[in-house]
Symmetry: C4
């Protein structure tokens, strides 16, 4: 019997579901963790079922320890959801992206192999678009593999950045860029985010657009709650900072006065 080996990338299936014209949705850790938050929310709301674990020697050499003390090797995961109408869905999320450039390419190619095997022709990659300042009403920035996809996404409020030359780094970029070379189409949806905090507020806007595009009903309550929690924490921090500044201010006055 051949021994189990991770090698560069190893996909371990727990199930091989039969899927009808599935679209592939990626949400991995990244700027503001927007993509991962969005993918996890989608998995929860759709009740999507895991069918594969993906291991890579380009992930950190590490296990996570759960609350009950059990460990799990860091990985990516694939879920599926059978839609009542329209396309079935494959969702990718996970603990890490590849650490090295080569590892990212190899992983993206292996994921596209899986996607091809299930007949995927359309990919949605989800992420954050770091703007460096706090954003009350995050917009969703789009990128597309083919010009004919422009109408479809601007119709749902997605905007393009006017300036040329921006880049999409990591899986969200590579899955589209390499996917194109394999004849797939794709859209990247990036929620504006400060880039400093985990941002469920931005993830919500991304999910809103994605749900409309896929004709899915997705409750946003979960993300709303997470966004409220994050807001409470950041407000608390701001208050502390403010009071510190005020204190320092009065101390300064003492020095001057």
């Amino acid at each position: 019997m051949e021994k189990f080996r991770i090698g560069d990338v190893k996909v371990v299936y727990s199930e091989k579901p039969k899927l009808k014209n599935p679209v592939f949705i990626e949400g991995l850790p990244g700027v503001g963790n927007v993509g991962k938050l969005a993918a996890e929310h989608l998995i929860d709301e759709l009740g999507a079922k895991k069918f594969a674990d993906i291991y890579s020697s380009d992930f950190p050499p590490q296990v996570f320890v759960r609350e009950d003390g059990t460990v799990k090797l860091v990985k990516n995961e694939l879920y599926y959801h059978k839609a009542k109408k329209g396309n079935d869905v494959i969702i990718l999320t996970g603990d890490f992206q590849g650490l090295s450039s080569r590892g990212q390419y190899v992983l993206a190619e292996e994921l596209l192999n899986v996607a091809e095997e299930f007949g995927v022709t359309m990919i949605y990659t989800l992420g954050g678009y770091g703007v460096g300042i706090e954003i009350e009403q995050p917009r969703v920035i789009g990128a597309i593999t083919h010009p004919e996809l422009a109408d479809e996404i601007t119709r749902h409020g997605v905007i393009f950045k006017e300036e040329e030359g921006g880049g999409i780094i990591g899986a969200s970029g590579l899955l589209l860029g390499i996917g194109m070379l394999r004849g797939m189409k794709g859209v990247c949806l990036m929620g504006e985010t400060s880039g400093y905090i985990v941002d469920p507020n931005s993830a919500r806007e991304v999910i809103k657009v994605l749900a409309k595009m896929l004709g899915m009903e997705i409750s946003l309550t979960g993300l709303d709650e997470k966004a409220d929690e994050v807001k409470k924490i950041t407000d608390k921090i701001k208050n502390i900072e403010k009071s510190l500044v005020e204190k320092e201010g009065s101390e300064d006055l003492r020095y001057i006065g």
Copy 2:
């Protein structure tokens, strides 16, 4: 004749012992060097015998020079001990862990190949758990591959960390994480340690638990002595620091006075 090559990893056997249901114990350099100290102590006390050297191109490109001027290529080593009752034992220790993520995975997989070949089904990985402050009475933190192992380790005083999401980095984590995927069970025992010094005191607590779990009698005198030595050195450093602070204090006074 094929030439000797290290390639990614090379296991060089000096002997292929016949072992009875051996458990595999790992103790490599890491936080507080706790795992390595524990493994070396075990080897000394059991009089375990080396049966394999493990070389890897992911170890530093380096030899060590012994007191008599002879060199040895940096490596890991495997020892065995035939138990009078219960399981035989394989112990892994060594000079380094792999330098890169990929190297760590490849090494762990090769070590698991060896373990499988000897029929290992249970792995114990030993290490330190860095807490950032000096610890008088280090506790032993545990992690397990399967929930049914929890009782077995808490029974011997091992605790789990309540908070989720902690990680075990390096061989101690990977051997369990990848081992699980090959159908093995495993336990990681981590002695609390400041993380700033080599910590025989922490290693002793780890050995205590391990000996109880394996039903072995292990004298702790050696580790007690090492712990005393380390304590003398750190006490000396503290005294120097204290007298420096006092001197600076008096000098400061002269400036002010």
Copy 3:
């Protein structure tokens, strides 16, 4: 059907032109971006036609987003131009050079495979020669694979650096160095440049020499315009700096006076 894979390097041909004794010209990003500016100018002026895209897992894992929102995987590109007289031309330019040493070697070897396939025996690599200070009249520094090429380039005003031991790093060096080992000849033309800014002024001098060597008529208007733009921007910056210095100066006076 075999799946599309980038692997280390993947050359994707859109066309396989029949070329007559083509010379190979390289201009990739580097010091002052001189090589890339020169190659792009040549492509524009000759109306050279793209015939291949080159992908590598040693490029950053990234897509660029164009103004219309469409993405492209980062890559290098090969263009050809059929000359009315003399040698046909293959031009290499692109977004990046390889990130790692190994990646650079592998990429250079794959590019030389392509060059060999088209019967290339002569390579021109273009780049900048960083001098650390602003240069009004950049000279073109040369390097050659064979001593008998010296006359040919000094005849066109190219100079050699007297001191030995300088190096040419990246594709401009490797294509010549490895090319030699495959029996090819080659010349490297490096325009002097400060190294601090993108330098069309330096690229112009490189193109002037190259055009003379290849007996091509190349308009320099495009590079003149770019050079003017860059000069305007740097002049503006200098004026700001100057006025800042003056302000600070007067403030200083106030402190002293």
Copy 4:
């Protein structure tokens, strides 16, 4: 015809000499450049002849430019010398050592393949031993693969460091460490050196010992001259530093007085 490829390591022979029980001597760049200076001196004095170039994708992706403008890909080189009496000699020197750990291992193994092919059973590796301070009379520190070699080197004035645990990093260590595993014997000779400058003075001491061990007559004039040059330069720098300190001193006095 198969295309020329460097791959990981490529040995290109210009000649395959017939050698009589050759010893292998390594002197590559390292601490104080002692090993390289010693190997180059040996090549000059013996009139050794180059018979192979060694390229590696783990060397920097770079060519050097010679005074006449011609380039050469960075590499290592093998020379041979046919001795009138005693062992013939193979000498390794070069521009760089491998950049990565893996590259160092692969290169050392390939060099040992070459050594084996020529029937080498004894390896001498030359290097510097950094001590951090200026050394008037550098001693030669030794390391050996087998205890029975100790007498042979201490007899020629080589000493061992008493403390255990020192390491020899890079080719000088690996060739011995891996060589041992292939059944070869070896000695490392390290001249004490500050580690701050290129040190022909230290290289001279290493050569003295090596010549005695191999029963060769080697003139040291060349290294004496280089040592004088280096001394002049360092003396000049010291004088400048001294006068700067004195100036600062007098300025300081003005502040105080």
